[in-house]
Amino acid sequence: MKKNLTCIVCPLGCLLEVEQEGNEVVSVEGNGCKRGRDYAVTECTNPQRVITTTVRTQDGYIIPVKTDKAIPKSMIFECMRDINSLCPDGQNGYTVGDILCRNILGTDANVVVCADVRKV
């Protein structure tokens, strides 16, 4: 079976033509680089996305966060629910890379802070 995918790994957004036999990807065309092939294979077998969102801290700051790895696409909303229930209390503010939640939902991804927040 052939299908078309848009590679989302970089802004070039190459149009990929993927040929699949059952669950196995047998060929990928149209990819501008090697990462496009890897993307096509995961996308056809176990699609994954990085989540970027915000968290409200106990003292009312809104801070940007992300998962430091892609998580299975099917778990996006479950993951959002868990992230939204985080209510961190960083006594000394927050620094880029601070981990707010380890191994969220057993995905092996951590929820990390994306901006410096210094309390005033």
């Binding site: 848009t6 802004p11 969102t53 409200r56």
Partner: protein, 415 residues
């Protein structure tokens, strides 16, 4: 009155990167003026990822990209003054700035870099018949509400315009529990990146209606719905295609426009296509010693290119201050219309390779992009696909043109 060697107006990635490169090129006395309370510019509200792949070889979110730029900057003795709004620039490079801390202040500069970014277009989009209830936001304002204030503007959303901010907001609001019923795009193609169509719309089964627009807004106090219609090639709504969609929120994502009030006050002319200043390869404007970079010059889709342009402007400003900026010619760069514009618009020296950044005016497949010097092809690149949403560049190789060249042209040819 203070005197500074280089004043940079705007502390987004363009301004920050310009400061770092100017310092590294030998300018010691640099001042950044930023009206917001923090550096970072628009990146602070762009919490999605997709930044920095070229520059940092990894995928960062907007705030992380800004953090990297700021970390490089803070290592250097560059003065940063936030909460300061520049209200005027004179052609003699006298700056008027306003802050609650210092009041109104005059600053004289040997060189100025304009890095004020852009803002959203809004007015034109509201030529829609119907009422003017609450619940209508520009996509960027909604982005600020959700990402910086933690406030959701609504639960049932229609988005008009498929530029990147609209697409990003479709996903963002969906993640936070809203239903996005439709994204309408009046053009037959989206102005956003293909990856954003995939990961922001297709991932969540949000329908994108191309050649469609909102033809009526319903609701008294709060918006209750919109009528959308298909449009013909002349962008006129086609009778009989109307459809009602219930919603409590309408986001307008109808494009960005460089913020050039200051440039105008300095007496600079604006390019009618880019809505930014005319610059040469050094990013020097028509006023000597005044440079421009980033979204204030032309709207960029990638922060990486913004940083690169900031660096060019910073380095050029350093050369200008030392009186070493080379100018040996004055050759205009024009385009053929299929290519909407290119930056720089003027070449004043060609001893080095120059990247000509351009944007296509429509979608083109399997074409050649050529650079002509007085009709002779001096560079040519094959392109599988060109879309208006993606800025591209082609090189004008060193010594391709001379002071006798009348015109450089960037154009599209069939393969």
């Amino acid at each position: 009155m203070r005197n500074v060697d280089l004043v940079i107006i705007g502390g987004g990635p363009a301004g920050m990167c310009a400061a770092v490169s100017a310092y590294n090129a030998g300018v010691e006395n640099i001042l950044i003026l930023e009206r917001d309370s923090h550096l970072g510019g628009i990146l602070q509200q762009c919490i999605h990822n997709g930044f920095g792949l070229h520059r940092y070889k990894e995928e960062l979110t907007g705030p992380e990209y800004a953090f990297r730029c700021e970390a490089e900057l803070r290592k250097l003795p560059v003065e940063v003054q936030c909460n300061t709004m520049v209200t005027d620039i004179s052609p003699e490079k006298m700056i008027t700035a306003m802050s609650s801390e210092r009041g109104i202040e005059k600053i004289g500069a040997k060189a100025i870099i304009l890095a004020m970014g852009c803002r959203e277009r809004s007015k034109g989009a509201l030529n829609i018949p119907g009422t003017r209830p609450s619940g209508i936001f520009s996509a960027g304002t909604a982005q600020k509400y959700v990402n910086m204030m933690g406030y959701m503007p609504g639960k049932n959303v229609v988005i008009l315009g498929s530029g990147d901010i609209g697409l990003i907001m479709a996903r963002r609001m969906t993640l936070e529990g809203a239903r996005v019923h439709a994204v309408c795009e009046v053009m037959p193609y989206s102005g956003g990146l293909a990856r954003n169509i995939q990961q922001c719309l297709n991932d969540f089964d949000i329908p994108l209606y191309l050649s469609h627009t909102v033809t009526e807004i319903h609701g008294e106090h709060r918006i209750e719905g919109v009528t959308i219609s298909e449009v013909d090639e002349k962008m006129k709504p086609i009778q009989g295609t109307e459809r009602f969609i219930e919603c409590d929120t309408l986001l307008l994502s109808v494009g960005l426009i460089p913020e050039n009030e200051l440039s105008r006050s300095a007496g600079l002319n604006l390019d009618s296509v880019t809505k930014g200043c005319f610059v040469d390869q050094n990013r020097e404007t028509e006023i000597e010693g005044v440079f421009a970079c980033g979204n204030v010059l032309h709207v960029h889709d990638l922060a990486d290119f913004v940083s690169e342009e900031g660096e060019i402007a910073g380095e050029s400003a350093a050369l200008y201050i030392r009186n070493e900026l080379k100018k040996s010619m004055h050759v205009p760069v024009v385009t053929d219309g299929k290519i909407r514009y290119s930056v720089p618009q003027i070449v004043t020296d060609n001893t080095k390779n120059i990247r000509l950044y351009y944007r296509a005016g429509a979608v083109f497949s399997d074409v050649k992009v050529n650079v002509l010097a007085d009709g002779v092809v001096v560079n040519s690149v094959k392109k599988k696909k060109l879309v208006p949403g993606e800025m591209q560049y082609i090189e004008l190789k060193a010594n391709s043109v001379s002071e006798n060249t009348a015109e450089i042209k960037v154009c599209i040819d069939k393969e």
